[in-house]
Symmetry: none
C-alpha cells in the first residue's frame, strides 16, 4: 500500500526544528507493509493543508497527518481535512464530555477554544488519545484512508500503535519490506555503479540505492514481500554483489569501519598506535568511539608540529628536511616511531595538507600520505583528496582505517 | 517571496535518515527575506518529482531542489525538471571537459555514466560546484525561479552561498530577516530561560528561540524588516541580554568555541598542547578545525593507556596508583607533562570515564577531569556528564575549550 505523510506545523518550517514523527511513522509503516513515497511539511495554513490533501488523494492510498489537532487558532488540520473531503465538522457530545472530565480531573476549567477538539469530520471513526486531549480520526473515502494524528510524539505513537497499526496490518494483508545493506570503501560512487548496475538492473522487483558519504558508500537493497513470496531473488542479488566487489565490502551488518577494524584487531590480538599530523586526533577519536577499544588502542601522538614529529615520534629531522613533512618517507617513519613509542604491534600514521593554505604545485592541498607498520612490513600510500579542510580530514581518517583493514586482511590470509 | 523546498532521495523516505539540507536552506532563505511555506521529500522517482514540480509552479515563486544530480541511475532530478518544464536536456561541452579534468586530477578515469552530470536543461544558468562534480542550475520560467542544487551538504552550501544567495537577495527587494545570535556556555537551558524570559517577552515583534546542543546553547532573535523599518528594538533587546548574562556569552558572531579560543591564543601569543585520555583526539581535532591553527597548536598526546600517561606525558606511575587515572591529580600532571613535552606555553588535559563500562560508585560513568597549566598556575575541574559515550566525550571536549577560554580571560585581565 502506498502511503504518504503530511506533517503540519509552522515551527517545522523554521531553521531550528525538524520533524521526527515521520521517522517513527515510516518505520512502523514499512514493517506493516506500506511504502512511504512522499512526505510534506506544511505550515498552519488551512488553504495550504487542504490543497496538499486534495493532491494526496490523487496519488496515495493511505494518508497520515501529524499535528494541527490542538485547541488553538493555529490548529487547522481538522478544518482543512473537512474542507478537502467536503464533509461537515460536527461536535461530538461524547468527546466534549470526555474533554470536560479530563480538564476537571486536573483541576482546570475548560476554556471555550478547547471545544474545537470535539469537532469530528462526519463519518470519521474516533481514535482515542489516552495521553492527551485531541483524539485522532480514521476516515475512509473512495478506497483512500485518511488518518489524523496528534502532533506530540508520545500521543502520536500511542494513538498509532493502539488504533492505526492494527487497521493497517489488516489492509496490507501481510506485505512487508525486507532489506540488505553493504558498506563499501576504496571505490568511487560511479565506479561502484558502473560495476553494479548491470547486475542490479536485472532485478526490477528489488530497489537498489547507492549513497556516498565521507565515511563510506552504502548500497541498500529493498524488496517488498507479499505473503507466500520468497526472498530468493534478494539473496541471489546480494550474493552476486558480494562476488563482484567482495573485498571492497567491509560490512553487511551496518557495522561502522571503526567497529570492523576494532574486531579485526581484537581477533588477531594486535594493538594499535596512531600518529596524526593534519587530522590532529580525528583518527584516534574514531577508533575509540567503539566501547571496549581500550582492549587494542594504546594511544597516539598528535604530531601537528615538526618538533612533535622528531622529538615524540622519533622521525629523523633530516628526513623532514630532505623530503618534507608530507611525504612517503615521513609517513613510514611516523608509523614506525609511534609503534615503538607506544609499544603497539601496529603503527598507523597520517600526514597531509588539509588546507586551505600550505599547498604548492608539487604538493597541492588535499595531498595525504598514510603509513602503516607492524615491525616486519612498513608501507605507505598517498591520495589527493577533494573537498574542503574538514572533508579532506574526514576522508583521510576513513582511508587510513580502510587501509588498515586491508593490511590486517593480508596479514591473516 | 514565497519559497518551497523539494528534497529528492529515496533514502530520505526510510526510517534511518532525515534531511538536513532544508534546515540550512531555510536559515539562509529567511535571512534573504524569503519565507519557506512548504517542504516536500520525494523519492528517486522521475514521475513523482515531475508532478511535485508541476504543483510547486502553481503555488511558489521560488522552488529549490536538493539532491538527485549525481551520476547514477537513481539521480532523476535533472530529467524530472526538464520534463515538468517541457525543455530538453542538452549536454554541455564545457562541463564535460571540466568533469574530465576533475577526474584526471584525482588520478581516476571518468566512467561514461558521469557524462550525465553534464546534461543541462535548455536556457538554465549553470551554477559552478567547486567541491563536487555535479553543477547546480538556475532556471527562470514565467516569473518562477527553479534552482537545482547538489545533495551533499558541503556542495549544496557552497553552490548556494556563491551563486544562489546573491540572485535571491536581488529578487526579494529589501525585505529581510534580521537576526542576532548569542552562543552561551556554562549555564543550563532552563537557567537561561528563567533569566531571559522576563526580558524577551517584552518584545512581541521579535521571535526569540533558545536551543541547547552538545557544544553550546544558542539564543537567537529574529525580526522581519521591510524597507524603511528600523532595528532599534532588536538592538535594544540584544544589549539587554548582553547586560544580563554577559560573561556566559562567548560569541555573538556565530563563531565556534574553537575559533574564539584560537583567536585568544593567537592574540595572547600563547601556544597549546593537549593530553587526551577518554577523548583520544577529539579535542585536538576540534582545535585544528580552524584554518591557521598551526600558528598556536603544537600537538598532543592521546594517552589512552596508563603507559602512555607515564612514559609520554611524564605522569608519575605512583600518582596513577594512588589516585587513579581519572583524578584531579592526574589531570594536572597531564597538563604539566604535555606542556613540557611539546614545548607549549599552555597544557590542557582531559581524563574521564566515557563508558559504557568502567564506572564505579565512587567514579561513575560520565566523571571527567580537566587540567590546565601555564607553568605558573595549574588548575583542575571536574564534572559528571550526562548522556551516552559519544555525548560525554563531546561535552567534555567543549567544556575543556570553554574552561581554557576562562583561563585565558583571567590571564589577560
Amino acid at each position: 500500500m502506498k502511503a504518504e505523510i503530511i506533517v503540519v506545523g509552522s515551527e517545522l518550517l523554521t531553521p531550528d526544528s525538524s520533524d521526527t514523527n515521520s521517522l517513527y511513522l515510516t518505520h512502523k509503516l514499512n514493517e506493516a507493509g506500506c511504502e512511504v513515497h512522499l512526505k510534506t511539511i506544511v505550515g498552519d495554513v488551512q488553504k495550504d493543508i487542504e490543497e496538499i490533501l486534495q493532491q494526496a488523494l490523487q496519488r496515495s492510498e493511505l494518508i497520515l497527518f501529524s499535528g494541527g489537532l490542538g485547541p488553538t487558532m493555529d490548529d487547522r488540520t481538522r478544518a482543512a481535512a473537512a474542507g478537502a473531503l467536503k464533509r461537515p465538522l460536527v461536535p461530538d457530545p461524547e468527546i466534549l464530555e470526555d474533554l470536560r472530565r479530563k480538564f476537571a480531573s486536573r483541576g482546570f476549567k475548560m476554556s471555550p477554544n478547547n471545544e474545537r477538539q470535539a469537532d469530528v469530520i462526519r463519518e470519521a471513526e474516533i481514535l482515542e488519545n489516552r495521553l492527551g486531549t485531541a483524539p485522532g480520526m480514521w476516515i475512509e473515502e473512495a478506497n483512500r484512508y485518511i488518518v489524523l494524528l496528534p502532533g506530540p510524539p508520545r500521543e502520536l505513537q500511542s494513538v498509532f500503535e493502539h488504533h492505526v497499526l492494527p487497521r493497517i496490518r489488516k489492509l496490507s494483508g501481510g506485505t512487508r519490506l525486507e532489506t540488505r545493506s553493504f558498506y563499501i570503501t576504496g571505490m568511487t560512487e560511479s565506479e561502484l555503479d558502473t560495476q553494479l548496475a548491470p547486475i542490479y538492473t536485472v532485478y526490477p522487483r528489488i530497489k537498489t540505492t547507492i549513497l556516498a558519504g565521507t565515511k563510506h558508500i552504502s548500497v541498500r537493497l529493498y524488496r517488498w514481500l507479499r505473503p507466500g513470496d520468497d526472498i530468493e531473488d534478494l539473496d541471489e542479488l546480494a550474493s552476486r554483489i558480494q562476488e563482484k566487489i567482495g573485498p571492497a565490502i567491509f560490512s553487511t551488518q551496518n557495522e561502522s569501519m571503526e567497529e570492523v577494524v576494532g574486531r579485526m584487531l581484537r581477533e588477531s590480538r594486535n594493538t594499535l598506535a596512531v600518529a596524526e599530523s593534519c587530522t590532529a586526533g580525528m583518527l584516534g577519536m574514531h577508533v575509540t568511539r567503539v566501547p571496549g577499544s581500550s582492549g587494542y588502542f594504546q594511544g597516539g601522538i598528535q604530531c601537528y608540529s615538526d618538533t612533535a614529529k622528531t622529538e615524540l615520534c622519533g622521525v629523523p629531522a633530516d628526513l623532514i628536511r630532505t623530503h618534507g613533512a608530507v611525504s612517503a618517507e615521513v609517513a613510514e617513519a611516523l608509523a614506525i616511531g609511534v609503534r615503538n613509542k607506544l609499544h603497539a604491534s601496529i603503527g598507523l600514521s597520517i600526514t597531509g595538507i588539509a588546507g586551505p593554505g600550505g599547498g604548492s604545485p608539487e604538493k597541492p592541498v588535499g595531498l595525504v600520505y598514510i603509513g602503516v607498520s607492524d615491525g616486519v612490513d612498513t608501507l605507505n600510500r598517498h591520495r589527493i583528496m577533494p573537498g574542503d579542510r574538514e572533508s579532506i580530514r574526514e576522508r583521510t581518517t576513513y582511508l587510513a582505517l580502510s587501509w588498515l583493514r586491508r593490511f590486517l586482511m593480508k596479514k591473516t590470509e
